[in-house]
């Protein structure tokens, strides 16, 4: 089904080497490139976040003591205790060197504020963030795909114009207000879902929909544009001309072509989500990594900030890899298999 004439854009012609070898070689090359990228990202992110934390105004010992002991117990004496305990009066280069040498042993250290291992905290929060991100993307696709495809098939039609209006409206509502609105309707009026917390799958529904609606506002337009483009392409006309039914054209060609920009865009959205939509996490009392990162920055929890930034950096690398591989799966041109000629 991978006929190069059926794909829009320039045709890639690659000499024939035997499909499997070539395929696995490029996959390994992609993996190796991303692996190298991961190491660089770890170092750069760690050093940058450290330097940025050092550059913030205010005395770190005071901020850490505030984060630890709360305003009822925090005072200058507790700040001095923190300074002595954590060795904050050491030169910053010594502190950074400590962190990097610990990192080489895969040790992210302990949270300066809570005393717990950074790795443990991140494991809990990252898990919750990934769950929420997956829920949000799923929710956004559930809204965006049907609406986007329907709008894209008849550009300028009723669905297209109505969904554009709705997109603008949804994008304009802050997540905070949308979240509260959904709680009021589904948890208070209809009493169908819980307000906040994270005990069961039902707790995932409202925060996912809150984020999903906001994401769908944009991604439905991306889907719509991709479908419109695909429908207007010459290969679409060709496949109809050669006798394929509307349904087959739709599923074999239009959706597959339209999927590429959508998958790439979902990748971008996922990155944005994992980083955490802090306000949604706060409204729904969801223990996510974005919320934790903001708290860590406020209370100058340097090891926690470094560890979180590092994890997010590596996650982006992994995410890029997944998106690359997904796009390779969808688009045979990047796989560069040497077969030519239509099969459909």
């Amino acid at each position: 089904m991978s006929s190069s004439i059926l794909w829009r854009g320039p045709t890639v012609s690659v000499p024939f080497h035997g499909r499997t070898d070539e395929h696995s070689r490029t996959v390994i090359a992609a993996l190796a490139a991303r692996g190298l990228q991961a190491v660089l990202v770890a170092l750069i992110v760690g050093i940058f976040s450290f330097v940025m934390m050092q550059a913030l105004p205010g005395d770190a010992a005071y901020r850490i003591a505030a984060g630890r002991y709360g305003y009822d117990m925090m005072d200058a004496a507790s700040a001095e205790t923190v300074r002595a305990e954590l060795g904050l009066d050491q030169h910053w280069t010594a502190q950074l060197a400590d962190w990097i040498s610990a990192l080489a042993k895969f040790d992210l250290g302990r949270s300066l504020v809570y005393g717990t291992p950074v790795m443990d905290e991140i494991a809990v929060q990252l898990g919750h963030s990934l769950l929420l991100a997956a829920g949000a993307v799923l929710a956004s696709l559930l809204f965006a795909l049907p609406v986007g495809v329907a709008a894209g098939l008849r550009p300028g039609g009723l669905v297209d114009r109505a969904s554009l209006g709705l997109s603008v409206l949804l994008r304009a509502i802050p997540f905070f207000a949308l979240g509260i609105l959904l709680i009021l309707v589904f948890a208070i009026r209809l009493d169908l879902l819980p307000v906040a917390g994270f005990r069961g799958p039902e707790h995932l529904v409202l925060p996912s929909i809150t984020l999903g609606l906001g994401l769908a506002a944009v991604s439905s337009r991306v889907v719509r544009d991709a479908v419109t483009d695909a429908m207007a392409a010459e290969w679409q006309l060709f496949s109809r001309t050669k006798g394929l039914s509307t349904r087959l054209t739709m599923f074999r060609h239009v959706l597959r072509n339209a999927a590429l920009p959508v998958v790439a865009y979902v990748g971008v959205q996922l990155a944005y989500l994992i980083e955490g939509v802090v306000i949604v996490e706060t409204v729904f009392a969801w223990p996510g990594i974005g919320h934790a990162l903001v708290h860590a920055i406020f209370s100058r929890d340097i090891t926690m900030v470094q560890g979180t930034a590092l994890t997010l950096g590596l996650l982006y690398v992994a995410l890029n890899l997944c998106i690359d591989l997904a796009c390779r799966g969808i688009d045979p041109r990047t796989r560069a298999a040497g077969r030519t000629g239509p099969r459909s």
Binding site: G58, D59, Y62, R63, A65, A66, R68, Y69, G70, Y71, D72, M73, M74, D75, A76, A77, S78, A79, T81, V82, R110, S111, V113, Y114, G115, T116, E121, V124, I180, I183, L184, A187, I188, D191, L192, P194, V195, A196, G197, F198, R199, E202, T282, V283, F284, A285, W286, P287, A292, H295, F298
Partner: protein
């Protein structure tokens, strides 16, 4: 297809709820704004104490009167320097290990090394002798038992620490033990059937930290949380109209105050501080911002602090004209832009506050407006609260707005002494010297003679009222929403306990 799914979901949820209602409810969900992220009593002890996960040697009732906790009795030597705490026998930690003097001294020594209330007392040593805990002092300090009722002096099991002394688990002696801990958002507790006292009726309790006041109010309204602590004014008003919920507002010994740098040339004269105080419309702030008109502060210590609330004191009043008169006496004249000028200097000062308590920046804005009326220009800086002690230490602070808890321990002397004793305190007087007050506070801390205490407390309260090293603005109300079906709910004004041990559901 979707419609069928949705209908099935609705039916399932309704059935699930019906099933849950038919059972005798023994679980409870509690929502509060405070996140719990650490195993360390010095950091998160307040939550472990309120949830009755860990206990103190000394307990206190809701009036602040001390009563036995893990210690059954305590006594002090005649010279007031050696305190002995007899321990309750037959108590075990949640993991089955025995509570004894060695466990208690380990926990207290650790608490003493960490920032916390024990630093307020002149402690010489904490050791065990004949199965009791013995604390020696460098000079008499009668409030020591009150400090041992504070959250930072709770007793975790020695098994809750790793070999390096880092806290790694939540093991206490309380009526509830930890079932699950998801920092920073939630703790699930189960009844401790081996508890030494009355075993709780609730089998399971879930604590949920919900940072947004809107979320907490909605959790209460939907019934997702059965007890919700600390509501914002609009949430409180809304919940008053919900039938299935009882709302409670309780005055607590927390006070919104203005710390004033009495060492600053504009503010060193008590008349200047009095003028700033007279310009504050406390009724307006209490009505419009905190929305409990009766909580406008008439003096520093609220009625909840019994002995420290001066009965005969003249209330702090709002009189901008008198304020202008006092400032004119001090040589200030009104400049072209309405701001006071003296010897070429404008009366312009900076106020530091923080957003963790959402009403503080609003009150700061109100003060900005009210002080402008008497010709004082106020800039407001909203940042980390650590900027306040930092500004105290480096002397750059002018005025600061914060909420101070004088009920931190059942006897407030520890806090008052560190705030207004010799040299002032990070969260109290700054650049203010009053040796009579410092001496009276030392006397109060050292004596157990009630008459002498009372006489000196009166002396302190009067001096603070007339010299205003800190300017009180409003007292706090503790707001709670409780599900109608709960009984034996007791709200502790000292915020030491959620009272879960006694609570049950009506049948």
């Amino acid at each position: 297809m979707l419609r069928t799914l949705y209908a099935a979901l609705c039916v399932a949820i309704t059935l699930g709820q019906g099933y849950a209602m038919a059972q005798n409810k023994t679980d409870l969900t509690l929502a509060a704004p405070w996140e719990v992220a650490s195993y360390d009593p010095a950091v998160s002890g307040f939550a472990f104490q309120r949830l009755q996960l860990m206990e103190n040697l000394v307990d206190a009732d809701t009036d602040g009167a001390l009563r036995p906790g893990l210690a059954t009795d305590w006594s002090v030597s005649d010279d007031g320097l050696t305190w002995t705490f007899e321990l309750r026998p037959g108590v075990t930690f949640h993991d089955g290990s025995t509570f004894d003097a060695s466990a208690a001294t380990r926990a207290l020594n650790r608490a003493w090394q960490q920032p916390g209330v024990l630093r307020k007392a002149p402690i010489g040593s904490i050791s065990e002798a004949d199965g009791a805990v013995v604390i020696t002092l460098e000079r008499p300090f009668t409030a020591l038992p009150a400090l041992l009722a504070h959250a930072t002096t709770i007793i975790p099991s020695p098994t809750a620490f790793d070999d390096d002394g880092n806290p790694v688990a939540l093991v206490g002696t309380g009526p509830f033990r930890v079932e699950a801990f998801t920092p920073p958002q939630s703790i699930t507790l189960a009844r401790n059937d081996a508890y030494w006292g009355p075993v709780p009726k609730l089998a399971e309790v879930t604590y949920l930290a919900a940072g947004r006041a809107e979320t907490r109010a909605l959790l209460a309204e939907s019934g997702d949380a059965d007890m919700v602590f600390t509501l914002d004014p609009s949430g409180y008003a809304r919940l008053q109209d919900v039938e299935s919920i009882n709302t409670i507002a309780l005055p607590i010994p927390r006070v919104v105050t203005l710390k004033v740098n009495a060492g600053h040339p504009f503010l060193s004269d008590a008349r200047a501080r009095r003028a700033l105080s007279l310009a504050v419309n406390r009724d307006g702030i209490a009505t419009a911002i905190t929305r409990f008109p009766e909580a406008a502060a008439t003096q520093l210590f609220p009625p909840a602090l019994n002995a420290w609330h001066g009965k005969g004191l003249e209330s702090l009043s709002h009189d901008p004209d008198a304020a202008k008169g006092l400032l004119a006496e001090l040589g200030w004249t009104v400049g072209d832009d309405g701001i006071l000028i003296r010897e070429g200097e404008r009366f312009s000062i900076l106020l530091r506050t923080f957003p963790d308590r959402p009403e503080l920046p609003l009150i700061a804005a109100a003060l900005q407006d009210q002080w402008r009326d008497i010709g004082v220009e106020l800039e407001v800086s909203v940042a980390s609260y650590s900027e306040i002690p930092a500004g105290h230490q480096d002397g750059t602070l002018h005025v600061a707005l914060y909420a101070r808890n004088y009920g931190l321990t059942p006897d407030p002397i520890g806090t008052v002494l560190s705030d207004f004793g010799a040299g002032g305190g990070d969260w109290g007087a700054m650049g203010w010297k009053n040796s009579a007050v410092a001496k009276a506070l030392e006397t109060i801390a050292a004596t157990s003679d009630m008459a002498i205490r009372h006489e000196n407390i009166l002396k302190v309260v009067r001096a603070l009222h007339s010299e205003l090293p800190v300017i009180p603005i409003v007292w706090y109300q503790h707001t709670v929403a409780v599900a109608d079906g709960l009984k034996d709910v007791v709200i502790d004004p000292l915020e030491r306990s959620y009272g879960l041990g006694a609570i049950s559901w009506k049948n």
